[in-house]
């Protein structure tokens, strides 16, 4: 009895699996995903191809031709021309400091606004939102004037201060809405255990929201790394410049050096890409981890 009952079910299963595997829709989706992937990485691919191509090969073959031999001079020349190591360090130190300070400032602000429920917090939030929407071009002249007055024009410190504030404005806005949903049970428990406001912040709120803070940190770092306009204005001396500003050196009045620009683009984007890959797990964890556990 059991034998005969089992057999038909077994034979039913096998064709079902085969159908699943050969379903044409799955191939279409796969092909579409592959095409999408190609579109996404195409610019990177073209930059890489041209970065290792000699100018003469570019002139005779155009941007899409494969280089007949690898040509590293573009990258090496560019590195030496702008002393790229120095620029990397400048970029790293500013981005890192901004990311740390920005997250710190955001946490403190959001703790007050989201959990502390400060009076008029809605208006604070609106203010931060507006500050976020303000284009940097509008800020340039006042910032220029102020930094000149306090002697910080042409100094990395000015960039750190400006971007800490800009990033923290966004961070405060985002983190406040996260903290508004913060489980009150945890806060009450901390209160019952006799923890003060600061202790609650460091021992309860920060550990629980660590994934979100990780995301903020990563984004602040990458955003600051990629900033071009304000560093271009504020970092006048070559020794103070960051990576994106240094890449601008190659842009001429009427001519562009495509192969060297590609080389510079490639080594300019690598650090940010590496950073992203390293912290990618933090990102996904931060997104999947909701505010309420």
């Amino acid at each position: 009895m059991t034998l005969t009952a089992n057999r038909p079910s077994a034979t039913k299963d096998a064709p079902a699996k085969a159908v699943k595997r050969t379903n044409p829709v799955r191939f279409v989706i796969l092909a579409a995903l592959l095409a999408l992937l190609l579109i996404v990485i195409a610019p990177l691919l073209i930059i890489t191809i041209n970065a290792v191509k000699s100018p003469a090969d570019y002139a005779s073959g155009g941007p899409l031709s494969l280089p007949p031999h690898l040509y590293w001079d573009g990258i090496v020349d560019f590195w030496n021309r702008v002393s790229f190591g120095e620029k990397l360090w400048n970029s790293f130190i500013t981005s890192f400091t901004v990311a740390v300070l920005g997250v710190l400032l955001s946490v403190l602000n959001a703790y007050a606004l989201g959990i502390g429920k400060v009076k008029g917090r809605l208006w604070f939030l609106v203010f931060f939102l507006v500050a976020n929407l303000l284009p940097q071009e509008v800020l340039v002249y006042p910032l220029y004037f102020l930094s000149k007055e306090v002697g910080l024009y042409d100094s990395l410190i000015s960039i750190v201060i400006i971007f800490t504030v800009i990033q923290a404005a966004f961070g405060t806005y985002l983190l406040t809405s996260v903290y508004q949903e913060f489980p009150t049970e945890l806060l009450d428990a901390a209160d019952v255990d006799g923890a003060g406001k600061l202790r609650t912040l460091w021992n309860v709120v920060v550990p629980v929201s660590r994934p979100t803070l990780g995301v903020l940190f990563t984004f602040f770092f990458i955003w600051t790394w990629n900033e071009f306009f304000l560093p271009l204005v504020f970092l006048v001396s070559n020794e103070n410049q960051t990576v994106p500003v240094a890449l601008g050196v190659l842009q001429g009045d009427r001519l562009m050096d495509v192969t060297m620009t590609s080389s510079s683009g490639l080594i300019g984007i690598l650090p940010a890409l590496l950073f992203f890959l390293i912290f990618q797990r933090t990102l996904t964890r931060g997104i999947t981890a909701g505010a309420i556990k």
Partner: protein
């Protein structure tokens, strides 16, 4: 990207106005030529690549300067064009200003800064050291700015070391293949292009999305123009009739060239860079563009022989002095800066510039040894000797570049008649005149 650009220019505009206010009342009257002669450093900025003609010549000039001034440290910084373009006003108004720098010629750049009192008046120094004699009158046009910052007259605020002009590049191999000679008149030039069209080759590489197409139209207009017309158009001496014979001929002939297939319809969307690359790939036999391509083609075109000639029949050609050496008003080593400029005008530095694919302003052709570069400089000397530099079509009004690009694109894709295009480009020109009170 377009939005980003628009944002940038809006910011720049904002800055320009606010800085204009801030800089009013600035400017010292102490302009003796020994000021800053005892300075121990000379901070020098320019934005030319180290392998370009200017980069090579100026490196040599820095070395010579060091030998002549043993106690002085030269702090050279290579800048990006964009950085100087965006920030010059802010930088020159601060203590981070360099002692000498390269800057763009023109009303919107050097003119504006001179008006705001951010640049040192070089008139006296230029007379004393003979820089004015080394430059002919059309080269000098871009060094002088009046009180409103308009070029052509007034005080001297900059000194150019090199020049640039528009000429015709041609692929010698393709000319040989169809048994063609270098044309000497516009008629012959047309016949050459006809031959290519008959053989299913589009003769002209054109970048319609950027400056090249409007320079062709301007070149055609110049074939019917004289110096007085150029002065009217560029320096606002008299009112320009856009429906007059010069521009009408330019626009109509340009349209004809498109209709006859000399210019490909799809070139409306081509950028200057892609135009240059398509010529260097040998896809087009002829390219009409500036001498700034020369050095690059010398280094990069390996697959065919190429040469240049001046636009046949024209006495006037688009072109001008190159960028200027300017001395910021806040320079702490003005006398040293003057010495440096003087070195860059020396014959050996000028010859070095010429031998590396640049167009020196004051070179002796005899000292140019490279045959390829000799051709470039001989052509320039011919233009210069006839006082034939007619500047660029987009100079007369701010933002005029985009107006011209749009107008000429209309001609290429056939969406506008020459007459409509001329009316379209006249409007912003006249509005600018009204703004200037002329």
């Amino acid at each position: 990207m377009i939005l980003f650009r628009a944002g940038l220019s809006a910011g720049a505009l904002l800055l320009a106005t606010s800085l204009g206010l801030a800089a009013c009342g600035g400017g010292s009257d102490d302009s003796s030529s020994t000021e800053g002669a005892d300075a121990k450093t000379l901070t020098l900025w320019h934005y030319e690549g180290p392998n370009s003609a200017m980069g090579i010549a100026w490196n040599k000039a820095i070395e010579e300067f060091k030998t002549a001034h043993p106690g002085v440290e030269v702090k050279f910084e290579e800048k990006g064009f964009e950085q100087i373009q965006q920030n010059a006003q802010m930088i020159l108004n601060s203590d981070s200003a360099p002692d000498i720098m390269e800057y763009n010629k023109g009303n919107a750049t050097a003119g504006l800064l001179s008006k705001q009192g951010l640049l040192t008046d070089l008139t006296e120094e230029s007379g004393k050291r003979g820089w004015d004699k080394a430059l002919n009158s059309s080269l000098q046009t871009t060094t002088k700015y009046d009180d409103d910052g308009i070029m052509g007259s007034g005080k001297t605020y900059g000194v150019p070391n090199y020049a640039e002009y528009v000429e015709v590049y041609y692929n010698k191999d393709l000319f040989k293949k169809y048994n063609l000679q270098v044309p000497t008149t516009l008629d012959e030039f047309t016949k050459v292009m006809d031959t290519f069209v008959q053989n299913k080759v589009t003769p002209l590489a054109v970048g319609g999305a950027e400056y090249p197409a409007q320079q062709i139209l301007y070149t055609l207009a110049l074939s019917k123009a004289d110096r007085a017309w150029v002065d009217d158009y560029q320096l606002y001496k008299n009112k320009v009739d856009f429906k007059g014979p010069q521009l009408t001929y330019g626009a109509q002939t340009f349209k004809e060239w498109v209709d006859k297939g000399y210019i490909a319809k799809n070139s409306a969307g081509i950028k200057a860079e892609d135009m240059g690359v398509s010529f260097s790939q040998g896809k087009f036999p002829i390219m009409i563009s500036g001498s700034w391509w020369y050095g690059r083609f010398v280094n990069e075109i390996k697959n065919f022989e190429w040469g240049t000639f001046l636009f046949p029949g024209n006495k006037l050609h688009p072109g001008s002095s190159g960028n200027l050496w300017v001395v910021p008003e806040k320079s702490k080593a003005k006398a040293l800066a003057y010495d440096f400029i003087d070195i860059t005008m020396k014959p050996e530095i000028q010859a070095l510039l010429g031998n590396n694919g640049g167009v020196p302003v004051a070179a002796d052709t005899a000292s140019i040894t490279d045959p390829k570069n000799k051709e470039l400089i001989e052509n320039f000397n011919k233009v210069s000797g006839e006082d034939g530099l007619a500047f660029y079509p987009d100079w007369p009004a701010p933002g005029y570049y985009d107006v011209l690009v749009a107008g000429v694109q209309g001609l290429i894709n056939g969406s506008k008649t020459p007459d409509a295009v001329l009316s379209e480009i006249q409007k912003p020109y006249d509005e600018n005149l009204a703004d200037l009170g002329k």
